[in-house]
């Protein structure tokens, strides 16, 4: 089952990394990319495409420091399923530095700086304008929300990987600066974007969609990891359902529900189709 899913995952990863500047030929995505979510996801992809893995190392060693939020990466890695020690661990490379100092000399050197004018790279563009951190990501979330979106509560805008207080501080400061209007309706505080046109013009071109990738990658990483561990067993569908059942609260945050009830013979196909759909988001969703 998951060979097909893995193939789709590798294709998506190539598209994201190519947009980021990794040497490769892949159509660029029309949706926004989430850098830390992508890096945290790579250990579950790398073994299926060693060339992609090698080129990602090159990008991470030479280019990542300009763009990556290490603290956010650390938070998102914690959401991912645990793995064995085998294979390339791209997040570890960034969080702890290369074990082998000669890695820097061995990289391909083929990666280039990303072309920030591409719509998919709104997160990186925002970080170049506002600096790497919660402020840049909150602003890109605000800019990619649909124009008719209601006033946002902090919980609904929280970009995964940032704490609620950090997001609250940014929102409060943006309100003080006149970018947002603070609406106090007991017991909740919400914020309405009042300089949306200016903000969108600043961050343009906007992507067609801005899916929340951390949750999607966490869900798919769990499917792939469960397949890797139990895929050859007859009881694999039950193990898969068990893993996804525990992730129901996370899935619910992106309005998803894993299809884990049914005859075991059909569950695997159901989950594969569902996971594949997570890779191809439709509609204009906010980054959350």
């Amino acid at each position: 089952m998951s060979e097909e899913l893995q193939k789709q995952v590798v294709e998506l990863a190539w598209r994201h990394w190519t947009a980021l500047g990794v040497a490769g030929v892949a159509p660029l995505p029309e949706h926004a990319i989430d850098l830390e979510a992508l890096i945290a996801f790579m250990p579950f992809v790398a073994a299926a495409d060693p060339r992609l893995a090698r080129e990602c190392v090159d990008w991470c060693v030479r280019i990542a420091p300009s763009f990556v939020s290490i603290s956010r990466l650390r938070q998102i890695v914690r959401l991912m399923p645990s793995r064995g020690e085998d294979g390339l661990d791209l997040p570890k490379l960034l969080l702890e530095g290369p074990k082998d100092p000669s890695v820097r000399a061995k990289v391909s050197g083929k990666s280039r700086m990303p072309r920030l004018e591409h719509p998919a790279l709104i997160q990186l563009r925002s970080r170049y304008i506002f600096g790497v951190g919660a402020r840049a990501d909150v602003i890109s979330v605000l800019a990619t929300r649909s124009r008719g979106a209601e006033a946002a509560r902090i919980s609904s805008l929280r970009s995964v990987g940032y704490t609620k207080p950090a997001v609250a501080t940014v929102m409060g400061e943006l309100a003080a600066a006149g970018v947002l209007e603070k609406l106090v309706t007991s017991p909740a505080i919400s914020y309405k974007l009042i300089k949306g046109t200016s903000l969108r013009a600043l961050l343009a071109p906007l992507p067609r969609q801005a899916p929340s990738w951390p949750e999607r990658f966490v869900l798919i990483a769990n499917v792939l990891e469960t397949w890797r561990r139990f895929g050859l067993r007859a009881s694999y569908p039950i193990e898969l359902a068990k893993v996804l059942d525990k992730l129901r609260p996370l899935a619910a945050t992106i309005e998803e529900r894993p299809p884990i009830v049914g005859r075991p013979s059909v569950i695997v196909d159901q989950v594969t189709r569902w996971a594949a759909a997570l890779l191809a988001p439709k509609g204009r969703a906010g980054l959350r």
């Binding site: 007859a234 009881s235 039950i238 193990e239 359902a241 068990k242 059942d245 009830v261 075991p264």
Partner: protein, 179 residues
């Protein structure tokens, strides 16, 4: 499915099943039943109460329940009290053994199921499922008398005897030979 899951997880359990699930498995009834009532676990030849099932067995049963949309306690030790006052004599020699991967099910024989069903029917309404199961078991008068004597070892009260007598009469069995 449960047996395969247990096998894949490196576990093996031997359980003793009674009730509707057991009847279904030995082919006495065909009504759908979504639970399996256990009276005991057998470990190294010794019968242990099924009231506290081993955590790996409970976990595996819950994992199967999730997928098949069953109650989490579809495999339960509800009838384990039967063990406390003793199973019918020779029970273990009559069980039917079924092996499903890491799960061995010892199914109560038709003769022993008559005992358990009669015991349950005494507390059941006249057209209840235990009465119906008892009819499907095609019990003879002698089997019902033997079962009635055994039920009295579990409940010696006069009130129970009155209810039991009522059930037996619906099967044409009088009060002789069991009171």
């Amino acid at each position: 499915m449960l047996g395969q899951l247990l096998l894949d997880r490196g576990h093996r359990f031997e359980v003793v099943a009674v009730g509707g699930g057991g009847l279904l498995l030995i082919g006495v009834i065909d009504r759908p039943t979504k639970d399996l009532d256990l009276v005991a676990l057998r470990d190294a030849g010794v019968l242990l109460p099924a009231s506290d099932l081993p955590p790996p067995l409970v976990e595996a049963a819950e994992d199967v329940a999730r997928v098949l949309d069953l109650a989490p306690n579809w495999m339960n030790g509800g009838p384990t009290s039967l063990l406390r006052f003793g199973l019918p004599e020779g029970f273990l020699e009559r069980v039917e053994r079924r092996e499903y991967g890491g799960l061995v099910i010892l199914l109560a024989s038709r003769f022993d199921q008559i005992h358990f069903k009669l015991y349950a029917a005494a507390d059941d309404r006249p057209e209840g499922k235990h009465h119906v199961d008892l009819q499907r078991l095609r019990s003879t008068h002698d089997e019902l008398r033997a079962a009635a004597s055994w039920t009295r070892t579990h409940d010696a009260s006069e009130g129970f005897a009155i209810m039991l007598g009522g059930v037996l009469r619906t099967f044409g069995v009088d009060d002789e030979g069991w009171r």
